[in-house]
């Protein structure tokens, strides 16, 4: 047993412990804290599985913004804790435990039954990367080989946002999401926001830019940009824009529309939808990423802000 394996076993045990804590903790706040810890530990697991892009995404979206969302909801739903406390429905718990144990054992058996040598597309992916001009194989898969997945995913974000907005009441439609934060000029939050935001913006843009050749990309970078925006909103420095503004809608859809347009333009030059003309692949991909980043950042930020709750003044 090597040191690396021993550390990995330790990591796996920590992960399972925090997962068990998340499920069995009494209060929702404790469970959410456990979940965020779990997410950060998972980032380490992704690193040890040689998936740096996923580690970035998990840290940013999986435990980062998801954690913000869950903490906010927990705070608002605090009064419902006592009403829906877990009834001791022992037969259901026992049956569920048995079923889930069987599922776990079955999955573990399937993991053991996976074929050796494992079938893989790594060789094919690497072999075609020169044609695409990217240095990051994951980016090549996302934006070239399986570009349709990414196109649809970039359309899922504004769609989910419209779904969230649809939960507003008719009277405040077009208004601003979230409660207005009071600007406390001497407060810690404002200090943090003023300090972190420039660095955050720089880091986010850098991660988007570098994602073409090294781990990174628009989702990870866009999340950081969204987080900085949320920070300034929470500190009261800026206010959430009213959702009825046309410029906001345009920002939300520009990324997917540019992606779709370039894809359809592929009919003209190389002759296939979502194909890139030879030699122009990397510039086009960079344009797509540049167009998608503001849309992703805006969508993620607004998904965190929630449905509109107050009309804009005047």
């Amino acid at each position: 047993m090597t040191l690396a394996l021993a550390l990995e076993i330790f990591l796996a045990m920590l992960i399972l412990a925090s997962a068990i804590w998340t499920i069995t903790a009494r209060g929702t706040f404790a469970a959410v804290v456990g979940f965020v810890t779990y997410g950060l530990l998972l980032t380490l697991v992704w690193m040890s599985l040689s998936s740096v892009d996923i580690a970035l995404t998990e840290a940013a979206i999986g435990s980062g913004v998801t954690g913000i969302l869950l903490l906010g909801a927990t705070a608002r739903l605090e009064v419902t804790e006592k009403c829906t406390a877990a009834r001791s429905d022992t037969p259901l718990h026992v049956v569920a435990a048995i079923v889930c144990a069987l599922v776990t054992i079955g999955l573990a058996a399937v993991v053991l039954a996976l074929p050796v040598p494992a079938p893989t597309l790594a060789a094919a992916a690497v072999a075609n990367m020169p044609a695409v001009g990217l240095g990051n194989p994951v980016a090549a898969v996302l934006l070239a080989y399986r570009a349709l997945d990414t196109l649809l995913e970039s359309a899922v974000l504004p769609l989910a946002l419209i779904g969230v907005w649809s939960l507003a009441s008719d009277q405040v439609w077009g208004g601003r999401p979230g409660f207005q934060q009071q600007l406390d000029r001497e407060g810690l939050l404002v200090f943090l926001a003023r300090l972190l935001t420039p660095f955050g913006l720089l880091t986010g843009i850098y991660i988007v830019w570098v994602g073409a050749d090294a781990p990174g990309g628009k989702f990870q970078g866009g999340t950081i940009l969204a987080a900085m925006w949320i920070l300034t909103m929470m500190a009261g420095i800026t206010d959430c824009p009213p959702i009825g503004r046309l410029w906001l809608r345009i920002v939300l859809i520009t990324g997917p529309i540019v992606f779709l347009a370039i894809g359809l333009a592929g009919f003209v030059v190389p002759g296939t939808f979502l194909a890139y003309p030879a030699g122009l692949a990397k510039p086009l991909i960079l344009i797509i990423e540049a167009a998608l980043t503001p849309s992703i950042a805006a969508s993620l930020g607004l998904l965190l802000a929630g449905p509109p709750e107050r009309m804009p003044e005047g």
């Binding site: 079955g106 999955l107 058996a109 399937v110 039954a113 996976l114 074929p115 494992a118 079938p119 893989t120 597309l121 094919a124 992916a125 075609n128 070239a144 080989y145 399986r146 570009a147 349709l148 997945d149 196109l151 649809l152 995913e153 359309a155 899922v156 504004p158 769609l159 989910a160 419209i162 779904g163 907005w165 649809s166 939960l167 507003a168 009441s169 008719d170 439609w173 077009g174 009825g244 046309l246 809608r249 345009i250 939300l252 859809i253 997917p256 529309i257 779709l260 894809g263 359809l264 592929g266 009919f267 190389p270 002759g271 296939t272 939808f273 979502l274 194909a275 890139y276």
Partner: protein
């Protein structure tokens, strides 16, 4: 270009760009609709007409070529790339979707109008964006040839369908929407789990490539079980049907039409893809019998519960649960283990049931919506005189009811007749018994509605709000579509057989 091209036996062919249009038109429509409700309402007729044209063009092209249309997106061939593929089943479902969505758009225009003097209100914007999104997702489900692409399509569909359920903002619909979302998310995550294991086992997610390499081994069985379980939760097959009635009954009538008619069919379509296209060699009798037993349970439980409903929209929703059960009766009859003739008949019957139910259920929900608007309520016991007040609507309702009960002339009758024939040919007469019982029960609950509706009230009823004749005609057109399927000769149904993989007998030869 790729080492995979030798393994992918079907070449991309001309006409494949139609597949791209089928997916990109509604997607573009959805994105542009986000800009504003008035723009969305004005763009919708153009998009719907174009989309209808594309769907019909695909059907004609598949029929002419007598083989599936294939398109490699980006020029990358599977397994590294993605393909879009339209076989006979896809073409039929695409055309059905296009017609029902267009009808829904026409029907919903009046209900979701932005009032004059206001730049935008909530419901119209949400309706148009979500309708386009549902259409895009459905087209992708029917055309996608890559299992992960299909996962993204399923999620797109869920995110579009759930807010439609609670569009009116009442507490009951919100709770129903959340329950629907939780069930749908559980279904998707089980499906995704299967996708991951399948890739780990075989190195590809393309349906055509997988059909060549999947063997009857533990990984394949585990994956099939997981993915089927997830998809059954999304199709609301008994006993996972609890989320459907409040969700479909609480949604606005235009939304219910799409939800009951099309959205539940998408996950059913994927079950068919999995069982018949990805893993045809795995179809064993036991598993198929389990599926159809659940289907039989759905027919009986759904019909009995429908008989006991006090509200019209809930009755129609429970009827959806029952009619979905018929779809699953086709699995033991269309399996590779049955005789060749029987399996074709059963497949045609099952898909025809899906198509005619889509038309009939959409028409039924829309007419129930018009009745509810006119009366201000939908209590079945107080529906006397509606027949006098809205004759066109009631005629459409009755025509749709024919299809659900399985009486001629209707697509539902042909579908159930084909399934009955297949059951008797395969010697599995117990399914025939279930279908006859289901038909009787359906007749019962339809009669419960039609009897008061067709009775004249003591004094003629006046509608609370004027009902536009154009909306009634749209509903009538949908109901007539379902009747039309019943008088077509059987030859056009050969469309459904295009692109079917060879049966096990042909394979082993």
């Amino acid at each position: 270009m790729m080492s995979g091209s030798a393994a992918f036996s079907e070449a991309a062919n001309a006409g494949g760009f139609l597949l791209v249009l089928a997916v990109s038109l509604p997607t573009a429509g959805m994105l542009l609709s986000v800009l504003g409700a008035r723009l969305a309402a004005r763009a919708a007729p153009i998009l719907m007409l174009a989309g209808l044209g594309v769907a019909i063009a695909i059907a004609i092209e598949v029929w002419r070529a007598e083989q599936p249309l294939v398109y490699f997106v980006g020029g990358w061939v599977p397994p590294l790339g993605l393909a879009l593929r339209a076989d006979g089943l896809s073409a039929a479902m695409l055309a059905t979707t296009a017609i029902v969505v267009c009808a829904t758009g026409l029907y919903g225009r009046a209900a979701f109008r932005v009032p004059a003097g206001v730049s935008e209100t909530r419901a119209p914007l949400v309706f148009w964006v979500l309708l386009m999104a549902v259409w895009a997702a459905l087209n992708l489900v029917f055309l996608g040839d890559d299992l992960f692409n299909l996962y993204v399509a399923l999620e797109l569909l869920t995110f579009a369908a759930v807010p439609l359920v609670c569009l009116d903002g009442r507490a009951e619909t919100l709770a129903a929407a959340l329950r629907y979302l939780l069930f749908a998310l559980l279904g998707s995550v089980l499906y995704l789990l299967g996708v991951g294991l399948l890739y780990g086992g075989y190195g590809t997610l393309d349906i055509v490539l997988l059909s060549g390499v999947v063997r009857p081994e533990p990984i394949a069985f585990a994956t099939l079980g997981l993915m089927t379980a997830g998809l059954l939760a999304k199709t609301a097959l008994f006993p996972l049907h609890l989320w459907l009635p409040p969700a479909h009954a609480g949604a606005p009538p235009a939304a219910s039409a799409v939800l009951s008619g099309l959205v539940v069919k998408a996950s059913f379509f994927l079950v068919v893809r999995l069982w018949f296209d990805v893993m045809p060699g795995l179809l064993n009798l036991v598993a198929a019998q389990v599926l159809s037993t659940l289907g039989a349970g759905a027919i009986l439980v759904g019909s009995v519960l429908a008989l006991r409903q006090a509200r019209l929209k809930l009755l129609i929703a429970y009827s959806t649960i029952a009619q979905i059960g018929y779809l699953f009766l086709m699995f033991p009859l269309a399996g590779a283990s049955s005789a060749q003739f029987g399996s074709n008949v059963a497949l045609t019957g099952g898909m025809l049931q899906a198509v005619s139910h889509a038309f009939a259920k959409a028409a039924m929900f829309m007419s129930a919506g018009l009745i509810a608007e006119a009366l201000g309520h939908d209590r079945i016991t107080e529906l006397r005189g509606v027949g006098q007040m809205l004759p066109v609507t009631v005629f459409a309702f009755g025509a749709a009811a024919l299809s659900l009960v399985g009486l001629p002339p209707s697509g539902g009758f042909v579908a159930k007749w084909l399934l009955l024939t297949a059951a008797m040919t395969a010697g599995q007469w117990w399914w025939a018994l279930v279908m006859l019982l289901g038909g009787l029960l359906a007749g019962g609950y339809m009669l419960r509605v039609l009897a008061p509706v067709l009775t004249d009230a003591s004094e003629p009823l006046m509608p609370r709000v004027p009902i536009l004749r154009s909306r009634e005609l749209v509903v009538l057109a949908l109901a007539l579509c379902s009747m039309l399927l019943g008088i077509l000769p059987l030859r056009p149904f050969g469309l459904l057989q295009i692109g079917r993989p060879p049966t096990s007998e042909a394979r082993s030869r």
